[in-house]
Subunit: 371 residues, 4 copies
């Protein structure tokens, strides 16, 4: 058992989630590397000190460079705004320090390309945080599809839908300006990553994106909403499968609509994050009068479940996905084996998002290879 | 109570369903007009006689003209192959006889246009058979949307998916040749009709259509499949709502996937024909900590349910939809009030299908008004 | 094909359902015997004439003896109040005419015993109407259990729950007086019949029965409720299985709670009439990491489904159960083979109800054999 | 922020779960008292040292007295076998140290009585670990019932069902001997505690308990199973509600069947731990044609959810229940306010279990007050 000092940049929602995970992961998984919460960085010294106290970090700073350069910080978590990702990651790579980066990778496609390139050049562990894909159920789905258990995939449908802006009178916030804070920038990457991980690369797509509520109440009257509420695209994957993805922040009634359905020549899969402990599997080889979708409750035989619970059906939750991420990151560092999704995978997600915008603006099919 | 003589053309699957419905509808609904099963027409005299016996028709014929012209036949059901629809309908209209036509309307867009035009010219009752839309649950969905109960519709997703050809080794049949027997020709019209009925006219769309299994085992070795297995399109409705529809006969595991979801600014709806006695409604005005989708079981307070059962939750089934169609057709004849969907509505469905093909072939967005 | 004249006694809810079924059954099933709706009997001549017109019967009467004795009436449906069942059935049996009797069998245990004894003595077709058990899904459940597919049954839970009296201020009606109109008399027989049919005879039980709302608003102020709102019992079946049944008319939110769950040594079954087209089956022999309950949608491979629909998942409804009953009754007459449940089975249900009352009153376990 | 030293007795399944919780709870909840994992005790020195390393405890011991008496251990977790609970708890109380005790309270009713009495006498914080009841959904259910939102409760049904012994050929283990390791001793307490917490005290009951598989394969051939596989009871609660509870370890297909349904005069509730992030609520005051069960996904507005996640529907899991327990225990110590369920509540659960055994053996209704 060896300790590894962790530096956390960002003390918001995801900063908290990763901090809880780092506190818990060693007892949950008995990892070879034990994380030591060395330093946390937020925007003010006082705020950082408070977060250090709350999240059990030894030290704090308001200067991320201090954190990255601190000799006791041996690996860096980036949970700060997208605009900061590039510079931080490059600084860490320059020092040969592993980096875990919250999705999306960079603020622009150029940033993402630079980050993926530098990650490869540096040759150090790099990993993306697309947490939902780490549920035992979604890991199982990946295994089932990859093994050919449902045959050749003929169709994929995915959505990432929530409803936090479904009320047209919900006030404007930082989320209603800036392309990267819109639905395509903020929500879509999760499900695009899932699609790429479950089915494989997208070859071409045609997208439609929309700002449904063009104004919202602000502090000084009506404010313009400058990013998108919903978007969708049809696509073909490189393996020939047909696909469709939809993303929305105005999907009234959907709280965590991370949903996918996969049809194959021998079976099918359904998953809905709102009931994240079940994977629905249709086995085309079942006796004809006994066929139907089987609701498989995740359990100790499924990926990463046993560490949380010995009994099937007891269930894991949102925070547990983050703990699994922490375990995977530590393991990647320890073994030197990259764990999906890496920065390169984060870049592929970004490319799909970019292709959607181009397709939407030009109203035509776009090939990913033409980007 | 007045009798009305019915002529049934077609003795197959739908011919049987409509015959059962005509036998039952009077006792179920106590309609003003009572149908008398006067004559049935199939392709052979012997076959027609047998069907007459089985389905309780007085007489039979192998010549549809005999049926249409028979003075005791006062209204005509068309449940024969698509290619025959035009000629039969025009003959009936020429005699001023009401016509009920199974979906789709005509075998070609030109046929459908002619049928809709002649229906209008003749001024007699004409009605399309898109049976699924007549469940109490889907009728309720139409009412809810039309009333504004879920606000402005922002998104619609629909699918008609089955899996009768999901096995690549299922043999070729008459269903695997002829565009009108493919997925876009045979399955898509149901859900397109639903979309038009629930949301309103489509203004533009972009489609992708595919024959996944290009050969199937036939009597003489491998046979080419000349029509489509699956298709999908993105669209915008005239009222501005964004939409997406998907159709498949290879959607492994789906038996009767007539599914739609509607998001509105004040609520949402979900429906799945595989559980046809429930409509899921999300009421955006609910108390914030009590909000969620409510599973409404259809009951006597919902459209057409009470005639089948006094208690809620007891459920109606496939055959009952056809009985409701019969009641509506009889009522339309009796009152002279057209009942949705008419031939004109059938034509609008056909136009969307045609636009899909054009969009698919030209790989571009197509406006319905440009057809 | 031979015609058989039917006499229907009762023009209420069940009288209508059976009349619709008799009109439809020949076209649905192509039965060997074709029912002719010969005569209907209700309490007044005018009412009966009106029902004859509505339900398509040739003649009508207000005197059930006239109906039973009519030479063209060759089989009798009893859908009149329980108190009348005994006398009618005996009159029909005396004339050697087959009898279909709506549940429950007799108004008292003595009545039921006499009816079962006379049915046996007469040696003519006799059948009980416990309609819900005739859904394709519940027929499939019986087959699965009987075949040993889920192994030895270790536990059965059943309920028949509705909520038509859940509101304490719902007015008193004829349903709130008379033991036979209470929950144990009116609702319990359905699920007891299911338990006996699925698992086998009950050997002993202990029951608890309750009138929760002892008064309800009536025409002259508060009126006493003289029968039971809910009841439940623990039991052992003769095959050793442990069981539990619950019945209620005040189960808020339950519309048609005809629900059972069966645990066996090799599998399990779940069914809920509110989603009557699905049977949930757990196969204990499944691969350990793929196990779970499979939602089997009823289809053409399951009992009696194909007559209604060629495609799986299209669904049958309440009225279809009654049509299946009609087919089974006609078939029993034609073949001379008794179809479950007969009057003898109806008597066994009544015995369990009686044992419940005795157990409740004496607050002790009661053996069915001690009745 | 004050530290509090924790001593953990037991390093098994629950020992691990509580250790993970103690590592995480401070970052999740920002508790006033911060737990310091001071010492862990298991049966061997080497094993304890290993657990200390894995679970992040400072020190270890194989002697629980050393742990309890250690001055840095300021509060004690008991997660060791039931037979040890009494002695440990009394030793801790004698030193005025708060105790958290895993369910069930004592190995015998006498033990439980002594523990509850000593807890009261000592006047220090004492709390039971019935973890499942701490999900946000079940906490919400308690609030809803307590507030009268569903009116007067008329019926309660609960079950705790799993299937780890459903295969008759599963080998005998320590779980198959000893009453306290049987279904009534080990599983029943969870759901009995839920029933008491949701509805209130039970007044009388009648139970049936069974060892279905009386022998299982052991190391030396067939071994006798000396405890129970399944049990059930009918009951009345002190507030008059009728109830029924069922417990099984052979309920084929049930993985975590912690299920309850509550009918009230104004509404109803359903919960199933296998989908622990949803509570189903039927609101009897809904518009009649919009009524149905609403699937409420837990979210930030519900108890204890926000600490884990800002968005609704993201979900908590098994481990999170234990973290909530830790928070509640720390808060109880900090504030001096007892948190349900205390040892007194654990005793009431034990009394119901004892009454079940007495009722089963004497085959009669038993009043809790007569124990």
């Amino acid at each position: 058992m060896t300790n590894i000092g962790i530096g956390m940049i960002g003390g918001g929602y995801m900063g908290k989630a990763h901090s809880v995970a780092l506190n818990a992961v060693g007892a949950v998984f008995d990892t070879g590397l034990r994380p030591v919460c060395e330093m946390i960085c937020t925007t003010t010294e006082a705020g950082a000190a408070e977060k250090a106290r709350t999240f059990d970090f030894h030290r704090s700073t308001a200067n991320w460079k201090v954190l990255v350069e601190d000799p006791k910080v041996e690996a860096v978590y980036i949970a700060s705004p997208q605009e900061t990702h590039l510079e931080i990651a490059l600084a860490a790579f320059a020092l040969g320090k592993p980096v875990f980066c919250e999705k999306p990778l960079g603020a622009t496609l150029e940033d993402s390309r630079a980050m993926a390139a530098e990650a490869e050049k540096a040759g150090v562990t790099n990993m993306m945080g697309f947490n939902y894909i780490r549920t035992p159920a979604s890991q199982l789905a990946r295994e089932i599809i990859a093994s050919g258990e449902i045959g050749e995939v003929t169709y994929f449908r995915g959505e990432h839908t929530e409803d936090f802006f479904s009320d047209p009178e919900s006030p404007a916030t930082w989320r209603t300006t800036g392309r990267s804070n819109g639905t395509m920038g903020d929500l879509a990457p999760h499900m695009i990553n899932a699609a790429l991980g479950l089915i494989g690369p997208v070859s071409s797509l045609i997208a439609d994106i929309e700002t449904v509520h063009k104004e919202r109440p602000g502090e000084n009257g009506r404010e313009a909403v400058t990013n998108d509420d919903q978007g969708q695209f049809l696509c073909r994957f490189e393996n020939g499968a047909m696909g469709m993805l939809y993303f929305s922040r105005i999907a009234t009634g959907r709280k965590m609509g991370y949903i996918y359905e996969v049809f194959g020549t021998k079976g099918a899969i359904r998953f809905d994050q709102e009931d994240q402990n079940a994977l629905w599997l249709y086995n085309g080889d079942a006796k004809p009068d006994r066929e139907g979708f089987t609701k498989i409750l995740t359990g100790p035989r499924h990926p990463d479940y046993l560490a949380f619970c010995q009994g099937p059906g007891h269930g894991t939750g949102y925070q547990d996905q983050i703990i699994i991420e922490a375990k995977d990151f530590l393991q990647a560092i320890e073994t030197g084996q990259a764990v999906w999704p890496t920065f390169q995978d984060g870049l592929m997600v970004h490319e799909v998002v970019e292709a959607c915008w181009r397709s939407h603006e030009q109203k035509r099919w776009v090939s990913i290879s033409d980007l």
